[in-house]
Symmetry: C2
């Protein structure tokens, strides 16, 4: 058979890169890496262990280094920057957009930071400082200062002439901002309107005043909801007091917020940090994960202590020890389901005091139905297994009690955590499964002690 | 004290609405609802139990009904549509964008579907059928057919005149598509370039050929990565064979894909459906969640069966039953951490065969470090508790074994599931915790049987 006729898998970029690295053909690595878009290079770097990552990073063309750094996750970025010469960092920072540059500067050591700032002209430095003055996860921290603004009383004709003279409009501009002579934000002039309306009309006549400006202290997550609800491509950030135009936020940065938020909830439920480097060295990784295991250990000891209270019962009726995993596991799964629903509802702003009671009632009812159904199954199996109807009755009752506890904890714990200002996605899981472990064991072994001894 | 001086909480929209509903002041409900943006109305409807939801829905202005339906989650939407008269559905469908309309039609009963199609003019119907011909979660299903295209050999001046004559450009247009006379896609003409370049230049001279067209069968998740990597606002969908322009995808639809994908991974890890109605009636909710509990029950019986094999040991050494929850719980947490990391890496395209071995080695090393550390703690506490060094040794060994098993399962199970075409986010959790339960109990009780009896 001809070799060419056999189906061959096309090697992925990562495979091709690994092979080139293993074979030491650096020219090929260089060609591969620099044929990619900065975001793709960033993703590839994140997929490599540290030593290989540094080799590849050295081969990235200096012109795109800045763009790649911006796309990297925090820990990987910090690791690469640590190894870079200050001059190289300054060079990489050149040509970045102000919001991206601000993100990068927050990670840099203070002396390099000063060097970057000194290398900029005073206008750019002022712009950058305006962004750095706001928290990273607010509208102010997300914004760019490269706005193009026009007055409401000029004609579209004039705007068209002005733009042509200006010669350049920032990327992702879908609208110009309309301001009065005190730089106060009035509305937006969509480029599509500018291109289609009669040029004799004034900006004020065709501008859109529907979307108001965003105060700089607005949390990034609220900005993201606004962009999603209104299908925006860009929006103005305005000063809280005078409504002056400060900058603009574009959809690409909002997409990053949405993605980060989503990753945060997945990762934090397992006690992980979404900014962590998947290929971090063993010792720091172990330390970080160890913390979460330690917290869980405390709750596990609590459950064990409850079991320990009933040692005498277990010695007499070993069947109870056999059934322990079932009660605990079903309770944990049911609680996690309710918790996940509520945490998501809170994140979407769809769960609040006004409907929490209704939800609690519903979850209790669901738990009762499922509890009765599955407890019957478990009871029957236990009866067949141990030939004692009392044991079947005890596990039946313990399961119903534990599923009700699961529903109660699943609804109330996240609401309480939210009120206390604690992220329910992080702490919720540990707490509700501790509740179901403790209640599950206590009801199974407690009822067993009463009914079986 | 003056009542006005006391700090008062501003009622949320939901609270205000609930109060108006409870008091039966329907005019107020009407005013409240119709002062909101369609996406906000949709979110509010999703936050209400079914009966109240239907009352509020009846008060939504017919003009925005279509836009609200499009924003709703699938189950809530289907519920409202079921109660609507066919004529009202047809009216609501009017004025929707083609991609939104296609989404809606996929949910409608066949006879209403036909009625909507008949109500459209033939051009719109053809466009709609073009979109309906593709799967919902592909580039073809996401696209809109309202493209504006220009030829490469005309001047910008001509394009500007054409647009003014046309009088309207679809929303979120940031670029026109450049096609040859066979409608073959060549590149994009950004509006920003159109507005700033010399009008005497031709489209071909200033167009951007960097971003190639997207074939209609491309999965929506790949489209999302492309938009994120390249910071796109819109992109062309082109036919696979001739490269003909079929339509365009805009960032707002991509944002929905990104959010849905993120929700899917959070929800499916708890065996939940992200399209389900949080306020669905009790019985269907219980049935849906019951399935997941049932699957878990099978695995719980497996764990119980393992424990049952060692009944005689437990009867002699009850301390082992007391320590069972600790081994199982720590193993489950460690496995979930590794699993979550790998599932996310797979979703980001950062984990594949080329680096899986490296990750496995790393995870095993992390597990060994954490296993030794926490097993020592547990061993010491057990020794203090039960005053038997043999028991301390048994739990120490069982924990180290189980954390190693957790790392092994956490890496290999999602990779294997992915190869089998099963979503690792859905099935991974159940499988890895079953592994750690079984191995944890077997090693604890097995070692206990050998060393303690």
């Amino acid at each position: 058979m001809n070799a060419e006729l056999q189906p061959r898998r096309i090697p992925t970029r990562l495979e091709a890169l690994k092979r080139a690295l293993d074979e030491g053909t650096m020219r090929q690595v260089h060609r591969l890496v620099n044929s990619m878009h900065p975001a793709e290079v960033a993703s590839l770097l994140e997929s490599l262990p540290q030593t290989q990552r540094e080799v590849v990073w050295d081969l990235v063309d200096p012109e795109i280094e800045g763009d790649v750094l911006v796309e990297l996750n925090e820990e990987v970025r910090a690791g690469l920057i640590r190894e870079m010469e200050p001059e190289d960092i300054v060079a990489a920072a050149e040509g970045l957009e102000v919001d991206d540059l601000a993100d990068l500067l927050r990670d840099l050591p203070e002396n390099v930071n000063q060097q970057v700032l000194r290398s900029m002209d005073s206008q750019d430095r002022d712009r950058l400082n305006a962004v750095l003055g706001f928290e990273e996860d607010t509208a102010g921290g997300l914004m760019n200062t490269d706005t193009v603004s026009v007055r409401p009383d000029v004609t579209l004709e004039t705007v068209l002439r002005y733009l042509r003279m200006r010669g350049e409009i920032p990327e992702k501009t879908d609208a110009l901002f309309v301001v009065n002579r005190h730089d106060r934000y009035l509305g937006v002039l969509h480029l599509t309107r500018l291109l289609t309306e009669d040029p004799e009309r004034t900006v004020g006549e065709v501008m859109d005043t529907d979307v108001s400006g965003i105060p700089p202290a607005t949390p990034a997550t609220e900005v993201a909801s606004l962009f999603q609800d209104r299908d925006l491509v860009s929006a103005a950030v305005i000063s809280t007091d005078a409504g002056r135009l400060l900058g603009r936020i574009t959809i690409d940065d909002v997409v990053d917020v949405i993605r980060d938020e989503a990753e945060h909830s997945v990762m934090s439920m397992a006690g992980l940090d979404e900014d962590a480097d998947m290929f971090a060295p063993v010792v720091p990784s172990a330390r970080r994960r160890g913390v979460w295991l330690g917290i869980n250990l405390v709750t596990a000891f609590l459950a064990a202590w409850v079991v320990g209270l009933f040692e005498a019962t277990i010695q007499q009726i070993v069947a109870l020890a056999v059934l322990m995993p079932i009660v605990a596991s079903m309770g944990g799964v049911a609680a996690t389901q309710t918790l996940t629903l509520i945490v998501r509802g809170l994140a979407l702003g769809q769960v609040e005091r006004a409907n929490a009671r209704w939800l609690l009632t519903k979850e209790i009812a669901v738990a009762l139905l499922n509890g009765l159904a599955w407890a019957t199954v478990v009871g029957l199996v236990s009866w067949l297994w141990f030939h004692q109807w009392r044991i079947a009755l005890v596990i039946f009752a313990a399961m119903v009690v534990n599923l009700l506890a699961a529903a109660l904890a699943g609804v109330t714990v996240p609401l309480a955590l939210k009120r206390l200002g604690v992220d329910p996605a992080v702490a919720g899981g540990v707490i509700v499964t501790t509740v179901t472990d403790v209640i599950g064991f206590a009801s199974l072994l407690g009822l067993g002690t009463r009914m079986l001894r």
